[in-house]
Symmetry: C2
Subunit: 311 residues, 2 copies
């Protein structure tokens, strides 16, 4: 185990629900084939640098031990990872445009994900930190209903759900402590181009706090106690942005769980750790760099971010 020392209390576990997938990724410079992807994969690995991660998702008959070992090596609890031998693992093929700001879905095979309903093991139902990674909002609500505790909930989404399950998504937003979304999606969901007004709308929708991510331009936190904004970590070799948002959200919630605090001050610090962690993910395909980075390198980037933003 390779965990950052945040000098806080004993870390609380973080329950992560989301997709586990195989991706084919085409960038202007290279291609990755059948590489590990999915919101829960990136998020749970990111969590693992800060706190114990419990993974809920589904894999098919083609998901081998080699990939399971990648989670085990980060001490990720797999009791909630269902295997469905009736088909293959969820598969996504995407292509990034030249500036990496846009991507197109070229192929999508739901496979075992088509019939997936996340069911939480008993021991997971009293978790105090819950990440609803990117899956259908209806499934996110189904997870919330199973919680016996009143966890601190972070939810993430993508543009697809704004198009096809907006009503359920707004229900999710209204129930969560922290809603995380990127800038183009926030405009799509709120109708507001201006990020400050869009953030205010997300709180109007009922989220207790919200983060709007702007990719290479950083991220904004909207919180009842105020606004906090942060530039991105200065990455010079962007290789594959897939999973950056999931890594950001996982690290952020992991950091809160590590300190067992959800105060505005802890959230600010967690924004820096999340940015440092996600900057690793984009430097290589799949979870490769995120997995291999190590706690010291992430702490180093956090320290750099402090240096480049604090007076």
């Amino acid at each position: 185990m390779n965990r950052l020392d945040l000098d806080c209390s004993e870390p609380k576990p973080v329950l992560v629900v989301g997709s586990v997938a195989f991706d084919n990724i085409v960038t202007p410079f290279a291609t990755g084939e059948r590489i590990l992807g999915g919101s829960a994969s990136f998020a749970s690995l990111a969590v693992s640098y800060y706190a114990p991660a419990l993974l809920v998702g589904v894999i098919g008959n083609d998901f081998d031990e080699r990939h399971l070992d990648r989670f085990r090596d980060h001490d990720i609890d797999l009791e909630g990872l269902q295997r469905d031998n009736s088909g293959a693992t969820f598969f996504w093929k995407g292509r990034y445009h030249e500036n990496f700001n846009q991507r197109d879905t070229i192929e999508l095979q739901l496979n075992v994900f088509e019939n997936f309903r996340p069911e939480l093991p008993d021991s997971y139902q009293d978790s105090t930190y819950l990440m609803l990674g990117n899956i259908a909002p209806g499934l996110q609500l189904h997870v919330l209903e199973q919680m016996k505790s009143k966890p601190y909930v972070l939810a993430d989404t993508i543009d697809l759900w704004i198009d096809v399950q907006k009503e359920e998504l707004l229900q999710v937003v209204s129930k969560v402590d922290l809603f995380v979304i990127n800038d183009s999606e926030s405009e799509q969901l709120t109708g507001e181009k201006n990020i400050i007004l869009a953030g205010a709308r997300l709180l109007d929708f009922g989220a207790k706090a919200a983060i709007i991510k702007k990719g290479e331009h950083g991220a904004y936190l909207f919180h009842p106690e105020g606004l906090f904004a942060l530039p991105a970590y200065p990455v010079t070799e962007l290789r594959d942005p897939t999973g950056a948002g999931d890594s950001f959200a996982g690290a952020l919630l992991g950091c809160l769980a590590a300190c067992d605090s959800t105060s505005f001050a802890t959230l600010k610090k967690a924004m820096l750790y999340a940015t440092a962690t996600a900057s690793m993910t984009v430097e290589d395909f799949s979870c490769d760099r995120l997995e291999s980075a190590g706690a010291d390198a992430i702490q180093g980037r956090y320290d750099e971010l402090v240096g480049m933003t604090q007076l």
Copy 2:
């Protein structure tokens, strides 16, 4: 006089050289006709909140007392403002696109600016802070040659000069302490899309430090002692971005002159004051909001920026 109290030494004067103009501005929402513009107008007004400003530029036979009084009201020294009665003041008509990120020049009348060569009054030649606002790089070099002191020099430019006077512009860059440019122009000048690599190139070109401005996404300072990055002030009512860059540069140099310090620490603080000051400019046409803002409101926005960026 309405000056911010930075709790530093006695402010040093700032010599500002640039254009004074009348603008017609067309935005998607409104139009401003024959309004005060020009790099030196915005920059000297911005300086005036921090330090005494000395203005060098040229006006034509249509520039009336009413507009001169706008400078006088801010105690801007006009000894270096030449009047050329042979023609009209420099005129520019521009139209902004819907997102305000791009603008087109619709009409340009050089008028008295065509034969303008900035000549510095004797008393200006030993200034210790010099802003070379946006004018032809050849004229910026002509100003540098007249200086008897070795001033701290900030230079600004626009895309036009990268197209038509790149060699002279690179000479300017190589001679200045702080080169300020926006992100699209920095890509045009350095060939680097990545802002971190572009900033490094500007230092390779000989600038002792450089700032790349990203508009609504903030600004980056590249300095031998390190990198500093700042988000934009959260403006929700953008009316006319004309002059934002000039106001930013003027306020930044004014802040250094107010503290008579060009250390990395002072530069960081000056980036926040520059951001706060420029945020005023964009909220109305011309220099209107910049002029009327007042020191307290600018200090208030600086304090807000501290709140939204510091842990």
